[in-house]
Protein backbone atom coordinates (compact mmCIF):
# COMPACT_ATOMS: atom_id res chain seq x y z
CA UNK A 1 0.00 0.00 0.00
CA UNK A 2 1.57 3.27 -1.08
CA UNK A 3 0.66 6.61 0.46
CA UNK A 4 -1.50 9.20 -1.16
CA UNK A 5 0.04 10.47 -4.36
CA UNK A 6 -0.23 14.16 -4.78
CA UNK A 7 -1.12 15.48 -8.19
CA UNK A 8 -1.38 19.24 -8.40
CA UNK A 9 -2.04 19.25 -12.13
CA UNK A 10 -5.72 19.52 -11.19
CA UNK A 11 -4.99 23.06 -10.09
CA UNK A 12 -3.35 24.31 -13.27
CA UNK A 13 -5.87 22.54 -15.47
CA UNK A 14 -8.78 24.21 -13.71
CA UNK A 15 -7.35 27.64 -13.10
CA UNK A 16 -10.29 29.31 -14.86
CA UNK A 17 -12.69 27.77 -12.34
CA UNK A 18 -10.63 29.08 -9.43
CA UNK A 19 -10.33 32.52 -10.90
CA UNK A 20 -14.03 32.71 -11.60
CA UNK A 21 -14.77 31.50 -8.06
CA UNK A 22 -12.35 33.94 -6.44
CA UNK A 23 -13.82 36.87 -8.36
CA UNK A 24 -17.33 35.86 -7.29
CA UNK A 25 -16.18 35.56 -3.70
CA UNK A 26 -14.68 39.04 -3.86
CA UNK A 27 -17.76 40.44 -5.56
CA UNK A 28 -20.20 38.96 -3.03
CA UNK A 29 -18.00 39.96 -0.08
CA UNK A 30 -17.59 43.49 -1.40
CA UNK A 31 -21.32 44.04 -1.96
CA UNK A 32 -22.12 42.51 1.44
CA UNK A 33 -19.53 44.80 3.02
CA UNK A 34 -20.94 47.89 1.31
CA UNK A 35 -24.34 47.05 2.80
CA UNK A 36 -22.94 46.00 6.19
CA UNK A 37 -20.96 49.18 6.84
CA UNK A 38 -23.84 51.70 6.80
CA UNK A 39 -26.13 49.22 8.55
CA UNK A 40 -23.45 48.57 11.18
CA UNK A 41 -22.86 52.29 11.72
CA UNK A 42 -26.58 52.95 12.15
CA UNK A 43 -27.02 50.05 14.61
CA UNK A 44 -23.81 50.94 16.44
CA UNK A 45 -25.05 54.48 16.93
CA UNK A 46 -28.43 53.07 17.93
CA UNK A 47 -26.70 51.17 20.73
CA UNK A 48 -25.74 54.48 22.34
CA UNK A 49 -28.85 56.43 21.34
CA UNK A 50 -30.53 58.62 23.91
CA UNK A 51 -33.79 56.97 22.89
CA UNK A 52 -34.36 53.87 25.01
CA UNK A 53 -36.48 52.11 22.38
CA UNK A 54 -33.81 52.51 19.69
CA UNK A 55 -31.18 51.31 22.17
CA UNK A 56 -33.11 48.14 23.01
CA UNK A 57 -33.87 47.41 19.36
CA UNK A 58 -30.22 47.81 18.37
CA UNK A 59 -28.99 45.67 21.24
CA UNK A 60 -31.47 42.95 20.36
CA UNK A 61 -30.27 42.97 16.78
CA UNK A 62 -26.65 42.65 17.82
CA UNK A 63 -27.34 39.87 20.30
CA UNK A 64 -29.44 37.80 17.91
CA UNK A 65 -27.07 38.14 14.96
CA UNK A 66 -24.04 37.40 17.10
CA UNK A 67 -25.70 34.47 18.79
CA UNK A 68 -27.00 32.60 15.75
CA UNK A 69 -24.57 30.65 13.54
CA UNK A 70 -24.14 32.22 10.12
CA UNK A 71 -24.98 28.86 8.56
CA UNK A 72 -28.42 28.87 10.18
CA UNK A 73 -28.97 32.48 9.23
CA UNK A 74 -28.12 31.80 5.59
CA UNK A 75 -30.39 28.79 5.39
CA UNK A 76 -33.21 30.70 7.01
CA UNK A 77 -32.83 33.71 4.71
CA UNK A 78 -32.60 31.56 1.60
CA UNK A 79 -35.35 29.04 2.31
CA UNK A 80 -37.79 31.07 4.39
CA UNK A 81 -37.31 34.75 3.62
CA UNK A 82 -36.19 33.92 0.12
CA UNK A 83 -39.52 32.24 -0.66
CA UNK A 84 -41.45 35.41 0.13
CA UNK A 85 -39.07 37.87 -1.41
CA UNK A 86 -38.12 35.73 -4.39
CA UNK A 87 -34.44 35.89 -3.50
CA UNK A 88 -32.03 33.76 -5.44
CA UNK A 89 -29.01 32.25 -3.74
CA UNK A 90 -26.89 35.21 -4.86
CA UNK A 91 -28.88 37.90 -3.07
CA UNK A 92 -29.79 35.66 -0.15
CA UNK A 93 -26.05 35.16 0.38
CA UNK A 94 -25.27 38.84 0.18
CA UNK A 95 -28.09 39.78 2.55
CA UNK A 96 -27.13 37.03 4.98
CA UNK A 97 -23.47 38.05 5.07
CA UNK A 98 -24.38 41.74 5.30
CA UNK A 99 -26.84 41.50 8.22
CA UNK A 100 -24.49 39.13 10.05
CA UNK A 101 -21.40 41.30 9.59
CA UNK A 102 -23.36 44.45 10.44
CA UNK A 103 -23.85 43.20 14.00
CA UNK A 104 -20.11 42.93 14.52
CA UNK A 105 -19.42 46.25 12.81
CA UNK A 106 -22.05 47.80 15.09
CA UNK A 107 -20.13 46.70 18.18
CA UNK A 108 -16.87 48.00 16.73
CA UNK A 109 -18.47 51.33 15.85
CA UNK A 110 -20.03 51.63 19.31
CA UNK A 111 -16.72 51.05 21.08
CA UNK A 112 -15.03 53.44 18.65
CA UNK A 113 -17.51 56.23 19.35
CA UNK A 114 -17.36 55.64 23.08
CA UNK A 115 -13.58 55.78 22.90
CA UNK A 116 -13.59 59.36 21.63
CA UNK A 117 -13.14 61.65 24.65
CA UNK A 118 -16.32 63.37 25.83
CA UNK A 119 -14.66 66.76 25.52
CA UNK A 120 -14.67 66.42 21.73
CA UNK A 121 -18.45 66.27 21.57
CA UNK A 122 -18.68 69.05 24.16
CA UNK A 123 -16.35 71.32 22.23
CA UNK A 124 -18.29 70.73 19.02
CA UNK A 125 -21.67 71.28 20.67
CA UNK A 126 -20.34 74.41 22.40
CA UNK A 127 -19.60 75.96 19.05
CA UNK A 128 -23.22 75.56 18.03
CA UNK A 129 -23.10 72.32 16.08
CA UNK A 130 -26.10 70.03 16.25
CA UNK A 131 -25.66 66.55 17.72
CA UNK A 132 -25.50 65.09 14.20
CA UNK A 133 -23.07 67.69 12.92
CA UNK A 134 -20.79 67.00 15.88
CA UNK A 135 -21.10 63.26 15.25
CA UNK A 136 -20.35 63.57 11.54
CA UNK A 137 -17.63 66.22 11.66
CA UNK A 138 -15.85 65.46 14.93
CA UNK A 139 -16.70 62.16 16.60
CA UNK A 140 -17.05 59.70 13.69
CA UNK A 141 -13.79 60.72 11.95
CA UNK A 142 -11.92 60.05 15.18
CA UNK A 143 -13.86 56.87 15.90
CA UNK A 144 -13.01 55.68 12.37
CA UNK A 145 -9.28 55.95 13.07
CA UNK A 146 -9.66 53.95 16.24
CA UNK A 147 -11.68 51.16 14.69
CA UNK A 148 -9.63 50.52 11.56
CA UNK A 149 -7.70 47.56 13.02
CA UNK A 150 -10.76 45.71 14.39
CA UNK A 151 -12.69 46.57 11.22
CA UNK A 152 -9.90 45.04 9.15
CA UNK A 153 -10.29 41.79 11.10
CA UNK A 154 -14.00 41.90 10.50
CA UNK A 155 -13.59 42.40 6.75
CA UNK A 156 -11.23 39.45 6.65
CA UNK A 157 -13.74 37.37 8.57
CA UNK A 158 -16.36 38.34 6.01
CA UNK A 159 -14.29 37.03 3.10
CA UNK A 160 -13.70 33.76 4.92
CA UNK A 161 -17.30 33.51 6.12
CA UNK A 162 -18.45 33.86 2.52
CA UNK A 163 -17.27 30.29 1.99
CA UNK A 164 -20.38 29.22 3.93
CA UNK A 165 -22.74 30.48 1.27
CA UNK A 166 -21.86 27.44 -0.79
CA UNK A 167 -24.44 25.59 1.32
CA UNK A 168 -27.24 27.55 -0.29
CA UNK A 169 -25.74 27.05 -3.69
CA UNK A 170 -24.29 30.47 -4.41
CA UNK A 171 -21.49 30.24 -6.92
CA UNK A 172 -18.18 31.29 -5.42
CA UNK A 173 -14.73 29.92 -4.69
CA UNK A 174 -15.74 27.25 -2.19
CA UNK A 175 -18.64 25.89 -4.23
CA UNK A 176 -16.45 25.69 -7.32
CA UNK A 177 -13.88 23.85 -5.25
CA UNK A 178 -16.46 21.40 -3.92
CA UNK A 179 -17.62 20.63 -7.43
CA UNK A 180 -14.08 20.19 -8.62
CA UNK A 181 -13.32 17.83 -5.75
CA UNK A 182 -16.37 15.78 -6.65
CA UNK A 183 -15.28 15.35 -10.23
CA UNK A 184 -11.50 15.08 -9.80
CA UNK A 185 -11.32 13.29 -6.42
CA UNK A 186 -8.31 15.49 -5.63
CA UNK A 187 -9.59 16.91 -2.37
CA UNK A 188 -6.31 17.66 -0.57
CA UNK A 189 -4.80 19.41 -3.55
CA UNK A 190 -7.88 21.47 -4.23
CA UNK A 191 -8.57 22.47 -0.63
CA UNK A 192 -4.95 23.34 -0.02
CA UNK A 193 -4.92 25.58 -3.03
CA UNK A 194 -8.24 27.13 -1.98
CA UNK A 195 -6.62 27.92 1.37
CA UNK A 196 -3.87 29.80 -0.44
CA UNK A 197 -6.33 31.73 -2.55
CA UNK A 198 -8.33 32.86 0.51
CA UNK A 199 -5.12 33.82 2.23
CA UNK A 200 -3.93 35.80 -0.79
CA UNK A 201 -7.19 37.76 -0.79
CA UNK A 202 -7.29 38.43 2.95
CA UNK A 203 -3.60 39.26 3.20
CA UNK A 204 -3.90 41.79 0.37
CA UNK A 205 -6.83 43.38 2.19
CA UNK A 206 -4.78 43.50 5.41
CA UNK A 207 -1.98 45.29 3.63
CA UNK A 208 -4.33 47.84 2.05
CA UNK A 209 -5.92 48.69 5.40
CA UNK A 210 -2.53 48.91 7.10
CA UNK A 211 -1.41 51.37 4.42
CA UNK A 212 -4.50 53.53 5.03
CA UNK A 213 -3.85 53.43 8.77
CA UNK A 214 -0.26 54.53 8.37
CA UNK A 215 -1.21 57.30 6.00
CA UNK A 216 -3.67 58.69 8.56
CA UNK A 217 -1.12 58.43 11.37
CA UNK A 218 1.62 60.07 9.33
CA UNK A 219 -0.60 63.02 8.53
CA UNK A 220 -1.41 63.74 12.17
CA UNK A 221 2.20 63.55 13.21
CA UNK A 222 3.43 65.85 10.47
Amino acid sequence: MGGYEYDFSVISQNMDIFIEGALKTLEISAIALLLAIPLGIIIGMGRISRNRFIRILSSAYVEVMRGVPLLVLLIWIFFVLGQFLKLGSYWASIIGLAVFTAAFIAEIVRSGIQGVPRGQMEAARSSGMTYWQAMRLIVLPQAFRRVLPPLASQFIMLIKDSSLISVIGATELTLNAKNLVATSMRSIEVWTFIGFVYFAMTFTLSMIIRAIEQKLLARENS
Binding site: E122, G128, L137, E220
Partner: protein
Protein backbone atom coordinates in the same frame (compact mmCIF):
# COMPACT_ATOMS: atom_id res chain seq x y z
CA UNK B 1 -25.73 90.22 29.36
CA UNK B 2 -25.74 87.07 31.48
CA UNK B 3 -28.43 86.69 34.08
CA UNK B 4 -28.55 83.65 36.34
CA UNK B 5 -31.64 83.41 38.54
CA UNK B 6 -32.24 80.95 41.37
CA UNK B 7 -30.50 78.03 39.70
CA UNK B 8 -30.51 74.68 41.46
CA UNK B 9 -28.86 71.49 40.31
CA UNK B 10 -28.36 68.06 41.83
CA UNK B 11 -26.24 65.11 40.78
CA UNK B 12 -28.18 62.22 42.32
CA UNK B 13 -28.36 62.98 46.05
CA UNK B 14 -25.73 65.66 45.76
CA UNK B 15 -26.86 69.28 45.58
CA UNK B 16 -24.14 70.89 43.46
CA UNK B 17 -25.76 74.28 42.87
CA UNK B 18 -28.04 75.90 45.43
CA UNK B 19 -30.11 78.95 44.52
CA UNK B 20 -27.35 80.58 42.47
CA UNK B 21 -28.22 84.08 41.30
CA UNK B 22 -25.88 86.49 39.59
CA UNK B 23 -25.74 89.15 36.89
CA UNK B 24 -22.94 89.87 34.46
CA UNK B 25 -23.47 93.22 32.73
CA UNK B 26 -22.24 93.76 29.18
CA UNK B 27 -18.45 94.15 28.87
CA UNK B 28 -17.91 93.04 32.43
CA UNK B 29 -15.38 90.42 33.40
CA UNK B 30 -16.37 88.18 36.28
CA UNK B 31 -14.12 85.64 37.98
CA UNK B 32 -15.58 82.68 39.79
CA UNK B 33 -13.24 81.44 42.47
CA UNK B 34 -13.49 79.08 45.39
CA UNK B 35 -12.31 75.73 46.72
CA UNK B 36 -12.53 72.64 44.53
CA UNK B 37 -15.92 70.99 44.65
CA UNK B 38 -17.60 74.39 45.07
CA UNK B 39 -19.58 73.97 41.84
CA UNK B 40 -17.65 76.57 39.82
CA UNK B 41 -17.17 74.41 36.73
CA UNK B 42 -20.70 73.07 36.95
CA UNK B 43 -22.04 76.62 37.09
CA UNK B 44 -20.10 77.86 34.08
CA UNK B 45 -21.13 74.77 32.13
CA UNK B 46 -24.79 75.50 32.81
CA UNK B 47 -24.42 78.90 31.12
CA UNK B 48 -24.16 77.26 27.69
CA UNK B 49 -26.28 74.27 28.75
CA UNK B 50 -23.47 71.72 28.64
CA UNK B 51 -25.00 70.84 32.01
CA UNK B 52 -28.77 70.84 32.46
CA UNK B 53 -30.28 72.56 35.50
CA UNK B 54 -33.09 71.36 37.76
CA UNK B 55 -34.81 74.73 38.02
CA UNK B 56 -34.21 78.45 37.83
CA UNK B 57 -33.38 80.41 34.71
CA UNK B 58 -30.27 81.46 32.80
CA UNK B 59 -30.61 84.23 30.24
CA UNK B 60 -27.75 85.11 27.89
CA UNK B 61 -28.20 88.06 25.56
CA UNK B 62 -31.97 87.87 25.99
CA UNK B 63 -32.21 84.12 25.33
CA UNK B 64 -33.41 81.76 28.03
CA UNK B 65 -30.80 79.06 27.57
CA UNK B 66 -32.58 76.20 29.35
CA UNK B 67 -35.97 76.85 27.79
CA UNK B 68 -36.91 73.73 25.80
CA UNK B 69 -38.32 75.88 23.01
CA UNK B 70 -35.06 77.73 22.49
CA UNK B 71 -32.77 76.64 19.63
CA UNK B 72 -29.81 75.78 21.82
CA UNK B 73 -27.43 75.40 18.89
CA UNK B 74 -28.14 78.93 17.73
CA UNK B 75 -27.74 80.20 21.30
CA UNK B 76 -24.46 78.34 21.80
CA UNK B 77 -22.99 79.80 18.63
CA UNK B 78 -23.09 83.17 20.41
CA UNK B 79 -21.34 81.84 23.51
CA UNK B 80 -17.64 81.05 23.31
CA UNK B 81 -16.44 78.30 25.64
CA UNK B 82 -12.83 77.51 26.52
CA UNK B 83 -12.11 74.26 28.34
CA UNK B 84 -9.50 73.38 30.92
CA UNK B 85 -8.25 70.53 28.70
CA UNK B 86 -8.42 72.56 25.43
CA UNK B 87 -10.43 69.87 23.60
CA UNK B 88 -8.93 70.74 20.24
CA UNK B 89 -9.87 68.40 17.40
CA UNK B 90 -6.69 66.31 17.09
CA UNK B 91 -7.19 65.32 13.45
CA UNK B 92 -7.53 68.90 12.23
CA UNK B 93 -4.87 71.57 11.86
CA UNK B 94 -4.94 74.69 14.03
CA UNK B 95 -6.59 76.66 11.24
CA UNK B 96 -9.12 73.90 10.52
CA UNK B 97 -9.98 73.79 14.22
CA UNK B 98 -10.77 77.48 14.05
CA UNK B 99 -12.72 77.47 10.76
CA UNK B 100 -14.83 74.34 11.20
CA UNK B 101 -17.73 75.88 13.11
CA UNK B 102 -17.84 79.17 11.18
CA UNK B 103 -18.12 77.17 7.95
CA UNK B 104 -20.58 74.54 9.19
CA UNK B 105 -22.63 76.48 11.71
CA UNK B 106 -22.54 80.06 10.47
CA UNK B 107 -22.35 79.12 6.81
CA UNK B 108 -19.29 81.24 6.11
CA UNK B 109 -17.41 80.53 2.90
CA UNK B 110 -14.17 78.62 3.33
CA UNK B 111 -12.10 81.58 2.19
CA UNK B 112 -13.86 84.05 4.48
CA UNK B 113 -13.54 81.67 7.43
CA UNK B 114 -9.86 81.10 6.71
CA UNK B 115 -9.14 84.78 6.39
CA UNK B 116 -10.79 85.46 9.75
CA UNK B 117 -9.16 82.39 11.29
CA UNK B 118 -5.68 83.42 10.21
CA UNK B 119 -6.30 86.91 11.55
CA UNK B 120 -7.34 85.52 14.95
CA UNK B 121 -4.49 83.02 15.17
CA UNK B 122 -2.01 85.74 14.22
CA UNK B 123 -3.37 88.13 16.83
CA UNK B 124 -2.86 85.37 19.41
CA UNK B 125 0.76 84.93 18.38
CA UNK B 126 0.17 81.79 16.31
CA UNK B 127 0.87 83.25 12.88
CA UNK B 128 3.30 80.45 12.05
CA UNK B 129 1.10 77.60 13.29
CA UNK B 130 -1.81 77.55 10.85
CA UNK B 131 -1.02 74.09 9.51
CA UNK B 132 0.21 72.51 12.73
CA UNK B 133 -1.75 69.64 14.25
CA UNK B 134 -2.56 69.99 17.96
CA UNK B 135 -0.12 67.29 19.08
CA UNK B 136 2.69 69.42 17.66
CA UNK B 137 1.71 72.43 19.80
CA UNK B 138 2.58 73.20 23.40
CA UNK B 139 -0.21 73.40 25.96
CA UNK B 140 -0.14 77.18 25.89
CA UNK B 141 -0.33 77.23 22.11
CA UNK B 142 -3.16 74.71 22.13
CA UNK B 143 -5.15 76.81 24.56
CA UNK B 144 -4.62 79.90 22.43
CA UNK B 145 -5.88 77.96 19.39
CA UNK B 146 -8.90 77.01 21.50
CA UNK B 147 -9.47 80.69 22.31
CA UNK B 148 -9.21 81.55 18.61
CA UNK B 149 -11.66 78.76 17.84
CA UNK B 150 -14.19 80.21 20.26
CA UNK B 151 -13.66 83.77 19.02
CA UNK B 152 -14.08 82.73 15.39
CA UNK B 153 -17.82 82.48 15.98
CA UNK B 154 -17.89 86.17 16.99
CA UNK B 155 -19.52 85.36 20.31
CA UNK B 156 -21.37 87.84 22.52
CA UNK B 157 -19.83 86.34 25.65
CA UNK B 158 -16.84 84.17 26.45
CA UNK B 159 -16.75 81.51 29.15
CA UNK B 160 -13.45 80.14 30.46
CA UNK B 161 -13.45 77.00 32.59
CA UNK B 162 -10.09 76.98 34.42
CA UNK B 163 -8.22 77.88 31.21
CA UNK B 164 -4.75 77.66 32.76
CA UNK B 165 -5.15 74.77 35.19
CA UNK B 166 -3.84 72.13 32.78
CA UNK B 167 -0.84 74.21 31.71
CA UNK B 168 2.79 74.01 32.72
CA UNK B 169 3.62 77.06 34.85
CA UNK B 170 5.74 78.75 32.20
CA UNK B 171 2.81 78.73 29.78
CA UNK B 172 0.23 80.27 32.06
CA UNK B 173 1.27 83.84 31.27
CA UNK B 174 0.81 83.60 27.50
CA UNK B 175 -2.75 82.35 27.95
CA UNK B 176 -3.59 84.89 30.63
CA UNK B 177 -2.22 87.65 28.39
CA UNK B 178 -4.55 86.52 25.63
CA UNK B 179 -7.52 86.58 28.00
CA UNK B 180 -6.46 89.97 29.33
CA UNK B 181 -6.35 91.44 25.82
CA UNK B 182 -9.83 90.12 25.25
CA UNK B 183 -11.05 91.71 28.47
CA UNK B 184 -9.59 95.04 27.40
CA UNK B 185 -11.43 94.79 24.09
CA UNK B 186 -14.71 94.89 26.00
CA UNK B 187 -15.74 91.25 25.73
CA UNK B 188 -18.23 90.04 28.35
CA UNK B 189 -16.53 87.20 30.14
CA UNK B 190 -16.91 84.70 32.95
CA UNK B 191 -13.69 83.02 34.07
CA UNK B 192 -13.41 80.16 36.51
CA UNK B 193 -9.85 80.45 37.77
CA UNK B 194 -7.36 79.72 40.48
CA UNK B 195 -5.12 82.58 39.34
CA UNK B 196 -5.83 85.10 42.08
CA UNK B 197 -3.44 87.76 40.81
CA UNK B 198 -5.09 87.62 37.42
CA UNK B 199 -8.59 87.77 38.88
CA UNK B 200 -7.63 90.74 41.00
CA UNK B 201 -6.12 92.61 38.09
CA UNK B 202 -8.61 92.20 35.23
CA UNK B 203 -11.96 91.41 36.80
CA UNK B 204 -14.77 93.81 37.55
CA UNK B 205 -16.27 91.45 40.04
CA UNK B 206 -15.33 88.36 42.03
CA UNK B 207 -17.84 85.62 42.72
CA UNK B 208 -16.73 83.42 45.60
CA UNK B 209 -18.41 80.02 45.66
CA UNK B 210 -18.36 77.25 48.24
CA UNK B 211 -20.55 74.15 48.57
CA UNK B 212 -22.60 75.03 45.52
CA UNK B 213 -23.57 78.47 46.77
CA UNK B 214 -22.48 81.99 45.91
CA UNK B 215 -21.03 82.97 49.28
CA UNK B 216 -19.73 86.36 48.39
CA UNK B 217 -19.87 88.75 45.47
CA UNK B 218 -17.63 91.80 45.54
CA UNK B 219 -15.20 93.99 43.64
CA UNK B 220 -11.65 92.62 43.60
CA UNK B 221 -10.45 95.52 45.76
CA UNK B 222 -12.97 94.73 48.44
CA UNK B 223 -12.79 90.94 48.13
CA UNK B 224 -9.04 90.56 48.32
CA UNK B 225 -8.50 93.03 51.14
CA UNK B 226 -11.58 92.77 53.28
CA UNK B 227 -13.93 89.89 52.49
CA UNK B 228 -17.12 89.71 54.53
CA UNK B 229 -17.54 85.97 54.91
CA UNK B 230 -15.47 83.70 57.06
CA UNK B 231 -15.34 81.12 54.23
CA UNK B 232 -13.72 83.66 51.92
CA UNK B 233 -11.29 84.81 54.61
CA UNK B 234 -10.26 81.20 55.22
CA UNK B 235 -9.91 80.50 51.54
CA UNK B 236 -7.81 83.59 50.89
CA UNK B 237 -5.53 82.94 53.83
CA UNK B 238 -4.79 79.54 52.29
CA UNK B 239 -4.26 80.60 48.68
CA UNK B 240 -2.53 83.95 49.16
CA UNK B 241 0.05 83.06 51.80
CA UNK B 242 2.35 80.54 50.25
Amino acid sequence: MISIKHVNKTFGMNQVLTDVTLEVPKSNVVAIIGPSGAGKSTLIRTINALEPIDNGEIVVDGISIHDKKVNINKARSEIGFVFQSFNLYPFLTALQNVTLAPINVKGLSKSAAEERGKELLTSLGLGDKFDAYPNRLSGGQQQRVAIARALAMDPQVMLFDEPTSALDPEMVTEVLDAIRKLAESGMTMVVVTHEMGFAKEICDEIIFMADGKVVEQATPAKFFTNPDSERAQNFLSKVLHH
